[in-house]
């Protein structure tokens, strides 16, 4: 089957089998290997991308379901050569170790912060329920997201 969609702002299309998952299409056909596969039961969140602006697990969507949609992956998060505040905050606060869960964590957190620009620590931890990390103990991930939220609120105020 032929599918078309927008990925990281660019129009793309490709031939897929009906059983092809979105994450397989992104990784194998588009070469966007920043989106990872860490499980087979939609639990780990390593594959989180944005579909039409909302976070989604790319292992749980068939590529054909995303026909015509706009997809953003970790590779498309930095704009104009500038890291996204979440990417910066993960770096500054040691929010990653092996890096495997990191793209999913950042994409998931980006969705949280657009819904709730000022989350509490409790709200951040609850939101991350669908993202597993085995390295950091979450401590510095939570710290990174709270730091990014603060930075983004500051940027929003400055833009007003």
């Amino acid at each position: 089957m032929r599918i078309s969609m927008t990925v990281n702002g660019k129009a793309v299309s490709g031939e897929v089998e009906p059983r092809t998952l979105l994450v397989e299409f992104l990784r194998n056909q588009l070469g966007l290997t920043g989106t990872h596969v860490g499980c087979d039961t939609s639990q780990c969140g390593c594959c989180v991308v944005h579909v039409d602006g909302a976070s989604a697990k790319a292992c749980t969507l068939l590529a054909v379901q995303v026909e015509g949609a706009s997809v953003t992956t970790i590779e498309g998060l930095a704009q104009g050569g500038e890291l996204h505040p979440l990417q910066r905050a993960f770096h500054e606060n040691h929010g990653l170790q092996c890096g495997f869960c990191t793209p999913g964590m950042i994409m998931s957190a980006a969705d949280l912060l657009q819904r709730n620009p000022d989350p509490s620590e409790h709200e951040v931890r609850e939101w991350l329920e669908g993202n597993l990390c085995r390295c950091t103990g979450y401590h510095n991930i939570v710290k990174s997201i709270l730091a990014a939220a603060q930075a983004m609120r500051g940027m929003a105020r400055a833009a007003e």
Partner: protein, 789 residues
């Protein structure tokens, strides 16, 4: 003072590629002509393979090869090995059943490799794997460790009673004598629950045989690529060592599970030759990881502590049954022995200790090192036993520990279980932790919780571990088949940039940053000018890899020695350039200076002279590249105190961690930010073991916890933020850096702190994982126990 040198909280240089999605993990690599492997696995825990009919699978579209144990035997490939020989009490060697790359005759656990299917696409390989017809004759399964000895079946026909070895350590007569004169003996039976490591990146491999070069390349998820190369060459015999390149690119966590040489990675390398040299890729699904990655822990123990009337420890006696699973894994024999019983002294001056360990085969996945590896089991046993002793002796749990600590003045300290601790200051860590947690204010907080209908408890755990494995001669005398030194190379370029090549491997630990800081400090070069290269046997010197919190204490010290050689050579060149005596040259902050003058050459100028030796000392080799190996004189001994405070909801049995304080003595610290991160991660693995995680097999040997739906991984909302203090150290004496290692401490110390806190809250001990159901059931039993008192 060097910027971004030792002690600085430098954000990591490896981060950029990971936060932008440009990491390069094994599954991100694809090669021209690549084909895909899928393994056919045993659905039975224990069965005889009656017949395999390759026909239907071979006839499927795209299928290139179907290989079984018979093909492995026909090609005379060797078995997987266990690299540490443990001897039983009677001096006989452990009984090791053969562990073939693909099952031969029998399967011994659910997930055991029966065949591999190689096809053009992954989907085709999957479809063909489903079509492969295997007939089994089911056999009774040995599942329960406690009864493995007299189980109705033998996992390996040649191993009687399923007993691999019956090992002992310590002075039994002295212990028996101490128990005979004890005022009080505390006894406990305890289980150390089986865990699944669950690095977020599943195992993966791409094997490639290049017929033109007659050479092999293996990309894989490894913590120790040189060890993989050695075993695959010397024991499995797929490729000669000098014709085999092993690359471990970015690796998404290991925690021990990626140390081991498993069958799958060997098979894809071999399979590449069988399909004419096309690269063969295999990526584990998470379900395969659960079934086949080596599990951790899984002990049942009986422990007894003898005390005098004042609560002084007189002797410790421990019996442990350890589960090896269906086969011995690469280091599985040493985990419940030399990495376990040797730690049973803990932080205490217990004068006599005896431990014996029976290791059994069962029809479950192999068990091997998982973060901490033996030491969490030892620490949990000692620290829960001491807590029970304190209750029985009506002593404060902190006080009974303080009373029995090895005093700061007693180092170096020979324990009764072989180790010599070099340094430590246990009381200071305990005091600091009690202050941070406000131990004195606990009664008030407990009363407040009670008013809210909750039960509050506090638990202390004073852990110790042996890291930086290890002196090669010592581990060799104990049965290790390898040396455990580490290597490093420092290579300057013409322009004064530095390439550091290390035999260790980073898969989250941040070596690229820490080692750059170290070299910046030692050589006075800019941190940004240092590039750390690792994980490729064709680039780096032969190394032993990363595990046992050894990378800085052993690999970092090798790097220091290489830097020392650079400085020594630089002094000769500087002396020549400055027309001074070599003895008068001092090196500091990147400058060679004639002592007492302002005559100096920067290291950049000296390096340039080494590569453009127009004006150069006679007889001195040009170039500036030095390598070193380091074999430490002793293990290192990180230690500390963890205090956990929990609130239990008696209605639901749910345990909430209200506070968690960690005070660690890691010796000197290079990057405190990274060290704290290591502690956070370890703590959550330890808390996961205490509250959430447990691998369970049913009576027939089916893994019930085979996915993230059934195996409870710690999630962000299960755990708190932590208070971690790592700065109050006693410098280690086994390396010039004074570092001890920090990677495993959290997972070692945390379980006892959590369980002791729950016991304190509810008045009775609950086995790990202390799930709400178990806690609730324990609470229901409690009123009856009280009524009986």
């Amino acid at each position: 003072m060097v910027e971004k040198g030792i002690g600085a909280r430098v954000p990591r240089k490896e981060d950029l590629r990971f936060i932008t999605g440009r990491g390069r993990y094994t599954d991100d690599i694809n090669q021209p002509g690549q084909v895909h492997a899928v393994f056919v696995r045993s659905p039975h825990a224990h069965a005889r393979i009656q017949r395999i009919d390759k026909g239907p699978a071979l006839a499927m579209p795209g299928v290139l090869a179907v290989l079984t144990g018979e093909d492995v035997a026909a090609d005379k490939l060797g078995n997987l090995i266990c690299g540490w020989l443990v001897k039983s009490k009677d001096g006989s060697p452990m009984k090791m059943g053969p562990h073939p790359l693909l099952a031969q005759g029998k399967v011994r656990y659910v997930g055991d490799r029966v065949a591999v299917v190689v096809a053009e696409t992954l989907a085709q390989a999957r479809d063909a794997a489903e079509a492969l017809a295997v007939e089994y004759e089911e056999l009774p399964a040995v599942v329960d460790l406690a009864h493995a000895h007299d189980a109705p079946a033998l996992v390996h026909d040649e191993v009687a009673n399923n007993l691999c070895y019956d090992w002992e350590l310590g002075d039994k007569a002295a212990v028996d004598a101490a128990f005979a004169r004890a005022h009080h003996v505390t006894r406990m039976e305890l289980v150390n629950n089986r865990l699944v490591p669950n690095a977020m990146e599943p195992r993966a491999a791409i094997g490639h045989f290049d017929p033109g070069q007659d050479a092999y390349t293996l990309y894989l998820t490894s913590q120790n690529p040189h060890v993989h190369r050695l075993v695959i060459s010397a024991f499995i015999g797929v490729a000669p060592e000098h014709k085999l390149r092993v690359v471990a690119p970015d690796v998404g966590g290991g925690f021990g599970s990626k140390i081991f040489i498993y069958g799958e990675e060997c098979v894809v390398l071999w399979a590449s030759k069988k399909v004419g040299g096309r690269p063969v890729k295999w990526v584990a699904e998470r379900s395969e990881s659960f079934l086949t990655d080596a599990h951790g822990r899984d002990h049942v123990s009986r422990a007894e502590l003898a005390m005098d009337a004042d609560g002084n420890f007189l002797a410790l006696r421990v019996n442990t049954k350890a589960n090896l699973g269906g086969y011995m894994s690469t280091f599985s024999s040493c985990i419940p022995t030399y990495l376990y019983a040797t730690l049973l002294a803990g932080q205490y001056r217990t004068p006599a200790i005896y431990c014996d360990v029976q290791a059994y085969y069962t029809n479950t996945a192999p068990v091997d090192a998982y973060r901490g590896a033996g030491r969490p089991e030892a620490s949990f046993l000692i620290e829960t036993l001491i807590d029970q002793a304190a209750r029985e002796m009506r002593m404060d749990p902190a006080e009974i520990r303080r009373r029995n600590f090895i005093p700061k003045s007693a180092f170096p300290y020979q324990t009764p279980v072989a180790l010599v601790y070099d340094t430590g200051d246990y009381a200071t860590c305990l005091d600091e932790a009690l202050k941070l947690v406000d131990y004195a204010g606990f009664a008030g907080r407990r009363a407040q919780s009670e008013r809210n209908g909750k039960l509050r408890g506090i638990g202390v755990s004073c852990y110790i571990e042996a890291c930086g494995i290890a002196p090669s001669a010592v581990v060799g005398s104990l049965g290790a088949g390898v040396g455990l030194w580490e290597s490093a190379k420092v290579r300057f370029t013409h322009t004064g940039k530095v390439q550091v090549l290390t035999g260790t491997h980073t898969h989250g630990q941040g070596h690229e940053t820490t080692f750059s800081q170290l070299v910046a400090e030692k050589l006075g070069v800019a941190y940004e000018d240092v590039e750390v290269i690792h994980g490729d046997t064709e680039k780096t010197p032969v190394g032993m890899g990363t595990y046992g919190s050894r990378s800085l204490a052993v690999g970092g010290e090798a790097l220091v020695k290489a830097c020392d050689k650079i400085i020594a050579k630089g002094k000769k060149i500087a002396a020549h350039l400055l027309e001074a005596s070599e003895a008068d040259i001092e090196f500091k902050d990147g400058k060679f200076t004639v002592a007492g003058t302002d005559k100096a050459k920067t290291i950049g100028e000296v390096v340039f002279a080494a590569y453009v030796p127009h004006n150069y000392p006679a007889g001195l080799e040009p170039g500036m590249e030095e390598g070193a190996f380091f074999d430490p004189p002793n293990f290192t001994f990180p230690a500390g105190t963890y205090v956990c405070e929990v609130e239990v909801d008696p209605q639901t049995g749910e345990v909430d961690i209200a506070k968690f304080v960690a005070v660690d003595d890691f010796g000197n610290v290079v990057n405190p930010m990274i060290v704290e991160g290591q502690v956070h991660g370890g703590l959550v693995q330890g808390i996961g073991q205490a509250l959430l995680e447990g691998a369970r097999y049913d009576g027939s040997g089916q893994l019930l916890t085979g996915s993230y739906m059934d195996y409870c991984m710690p999630r962000a909302d299960d755990v708190p933020s932590f208070e971690v203090v790592t700065s109050r150290g006693t410098a280690c004496t086994s390396n010039s850096l004074g570092v001890k290692g920090c990677g495993e401490a959290g997972a070692i110390g945390a379980p006892a702190a959590v369980i002791n806190a729950i016991t304190d809250a509810i008045g009775t001990r609950v086995e790990m994982p202390a799930t709400p159901e178990r806690v609730w059931r324990a609470l229901q039993r409690r009123p009856m126990a009280r009524a009986a008192e």
